[in-house]
Symmetry: D2
Subunit: 311 residues, 4 copies
């Protein structure tokens, strides 16, 4: 389908269910997609951080995009991450995911290498020039160790290089600069400004964001769809109550023992455990070398689900 | 050839010459290899940071390893980086580079994702279990944003998981802990401890390191080979003088204007400009999205070469 | 006066005007206080980062508190920073500023030293035990290089150790955790949760914050007082418009040339230049070793003021 | 006494013994000084990080300098830290410690505030202009969160602003740039380049450093004096053996449980526990809010001492 300009609403970064031997579990993946689509989400973002893109081989990445694109058949836009270190490597992923049917590609600043704003600009310009699909910038300093400057995002938006921004930086001030800047600049049209936060979707929409890409929407898509609708209706009190319920649920990302595992193992393990407990996917395995949650930690995920009315 | 246990001496991280349209310039690459081998280096490290591995596509990476392995024909050991974010992706590179003939693989901790010492240990154990060639750990916190703990390196060395360490952390204290620990632990034999520094190879060898992997050895391999020999002979005064000459030469990495480019563009651009000016490679281009040195900046590289007696 | 429980509304971190030879310009300071009080602010925060507390000697710090406390005569609460590295040194400042009449003290986590959550907790407990005035935690990771964990803030609030939080971390998710947690925990009463952001005061108040401590309120106190009133009235559309006007004005913090000075020199220099241009203070000097704005940069501050309708 | 140009040899950063109620234990302090002087150290550095300067009140800082200066009576040079955030506050400490008799002052870059190389240069120039005693730069990025650029240190040395550098950055490459630069620049004379490392004093002296300021020299001053003498005699093999013995001893800094305390609590607690176990000081207490070592952890300190032949 054509990528909407702008894309709005709830666009979950779709988890990638794995089998016990760490292959893509396509059946579970499509059940998860159905679970999201039936809840009313407005787009799907494949191969993001929540999708464990950093852990999937090129073959697995392609499998994910092909399976989902075929399954949804143009009902809603499908974005796909093209996550790699630099321009030439990203371009290979752009070719692969667009060939597999993605409607837009999502691209970070260069990482692993030392970079510079001039190089980040060059990176996006080269990618946009070569990509058959619109390019969405992915601001994820926790992974990339560089913050995308708001002014640069707006400059690239005005040039038509970028079609949108997924901002997972947690910096609402910089995010607002982009939202407001995109609104007032006559050279920018149809640009999508999406927050990657789980915790302040109401705030982001209130200040003018187009939508949200919350990892927790895998677990509770109905909640985020409801939240989005309440915000669009200007019913801020009920929006805030819904957001607070989701914030409490988000506590599940901390179930993993920090003496035993890192934050990704805990958060992605908890999302998958929740999907398993809710009956959406068949196996909660995360990719190597992540550490698995213990039975007790999975039990705590269950308590979060129960408290949020999801079990 | 069989990977030496331990590998000792000068092991340059080989630059990857590119054509003006950013394809691997195999002819220049092999001339560079000849330039290094004729100077007497003791091994070659392909697809490291200095090789722009982060910028090379999978096809280009394979091309580099195949060309060099075929060319050197077992005269000296060839190590190859398997640089990617996590275990499953690294394993694909391990298969590719060993299939192409590499004698050992060089692997960092997971990056882009949030990680944990337990996950780093699991990462190396899984890779060693699957790799047909020895695994050398690559400690590069400037890129990976995690420091490999010395105790973990020693633990994995004692288990036989790691065959060596390339330490580009700049932390001589932690490096020494590994050097001394590997010497005194009876469970550790044949483990190679290599410094990635250009600036204190004499110090590293004096405290017991096996060798060095200095990017600047592309430009002046004779200097590093001489330095290594002086250190092995215990001629510390002349070693220090040679090292200081190389330190002065290393100043060329700073020729790039920091208002216009990042540190990689400057340093890798300067190495390639020096190789071009010395007549070793045909084109000084660096990979996208790096910014090119100006004519004036290249002129300053020439002055460093002249001052070091290399022009 | 008694410190309100909770303190609500706009509490500017008051700039410290200096004479050309870098002494406290008490007359300008009191004119600035009048400018703020007449605009309707709800409290004053002395000796914070915006006040250049890090640059003021102990004698100057004391002078500031004594002068302002005497001048306002209990009309509104006066908070004072007790900014130093560790518990014993902070306690000396707590004694000094409360002796000088401050109604509450504002304290960061330990800095310069390496610290730990257990030590941060101990720090606040010891300070609260010794302080004659309520203690407000100051979360400022850009200066302190530690983020106050939300759970720890709530735990100390429930114990009665902390009377409030000034959150300048920029992390709205963590801020919300404290706001919501303080609301639902029956052991927490009268706790003030204040944002230090200039850019999303509307968002912070919408999700339940008690007030704001924006440095820019020195320059445009009427704007922030208006914004606060609109938020309290639930007039979110006009609040957003006012906030956006203030966001545009905040651009003045970037007038300083980053090749010539750091971010504090630019931002604090711009605040003082604006106060000078608005006729509030007599001299725009900032403390040593900050670099002064050029005439051209001061001219750009004037343009921001004009665009915001303040000249 | 006159500050030597250059100062050479072993200059321990003297621990500050405290009583159980956290007052300076002057009797223990002077016993510690005797323990160091009798071992043959070449200078004393008071009020550094190892001295817990960040935790001492102004009154306590003054007490330390006055007591030690009076006690050593000019037998050896006494340096004192003037550790505070910015120029005006540092200048107050410079006045206090020189008034108390310090022969030189040791000063970091500004911290807590955001800074810039131009501001760091201005900071040192203003302090040198006002200080009655020579100024030694203290490079401690772990505390200050800024690295002193080598070129700036050399520039200030050539101007006569700085009399020396204490480098605790761990970056031997940058350190070497200063050592070599100070040797070859005809405008620089009598400049002292001192490493703050415990772990590679032999390497630092081998490449031309003037001396060392190792915290561990509190515990084993004889070892560092021996190491210094072996290096000066060019007996590198025995120097390395002595250094390796000291490296093993340095392991005691890690006895504290990281789940329960930070790195300062562990390292400074271990130094003081060792001094207590060796009978030098009467009480091992560290300043608030540091966490105390457990009896078991103190027992592990004893084992390190025994292994190093110090009990």
């Amino acid at each position: 389908m054509t990528f909407p300009a702008p894309l709005t609403g709830v666009v979950p970064p779709v988890c990638t269910p794995l089998t016990p031997d760490r292959e893509v579990d396509v059946r579970s993946l499509l059940r998860l997609v159905d679970h999201l689509v039936e809840a009313g989400v407005h787009g799907l973002f494949l191969l993001g951080s929540t999708s464990e893109a950093a852990y999937l081989t090129d073959r697995q990445r392609r499998c994910v995009v092909e399976a989902v694109v075929a399954h949804v058949g143009g009902q809603l836009p499908v974005l796909a991450g093209a996550i790699d270190m630099t321009t030439p490597r990203v371009l290979d992923h752009v070719a692969a995911v667009t060939d597999a049917g993605a409607d837009a590609v999502v691209v970070t600043a260069p990482f692993y290498t030392r970079t510079h704003p001039a190089e980040i600009a060059r990176h996006y310009r080269l990618i946009a020039a070569a990509s058959p699909a619109p390019v969405v910038a992915y601001d994820l300093p926790a992974s990339v160790h560089t913050k995308l400057p708001s002014e640069l995002v707006l400059e690239l938006a005005a040039e038509g290089v970028l079609a949108g921004l997924k901002d997972s930086s947690g910096d609402l001030g910089g995010f607002r600069t982009v939202v407001t800047g995109a609104r007032v600049d006559p050279d920018i049209t149809g640009f999508s400004v999406l927050t990657g936060s789980e915790l302040f979707v109401d705030s982001a929409l209130a200040l003018g964001a187009d939508g949200a890409v919350p990892g927790l929407a895998n677990v509770d898509p109905h909640g985020y769809v409801r939240l989005d609708a309440l915000c669009r209706a200007g019913d801020w009190d009920r929006a805030r109550a819904e957001q607070e319920r989701l914030c409490a649920l988000f506590g599940l990302v901390g179930v993993g023992d920090p003496a035993r595992m890192g934050g990704s193992s805990s958060a992605l393990g908890a999302f998958k455990a929740a999907l398993y407990l809710r009956g959406v996917i068949e196996c909660a395995a995360t990719a190597e070398p992540q550490v698995s949650l213990s039975a007790d930690e999975v039990g705590r995920v269950g308590k979060f689900l129960a408290a949020a009315g999801l079990l």
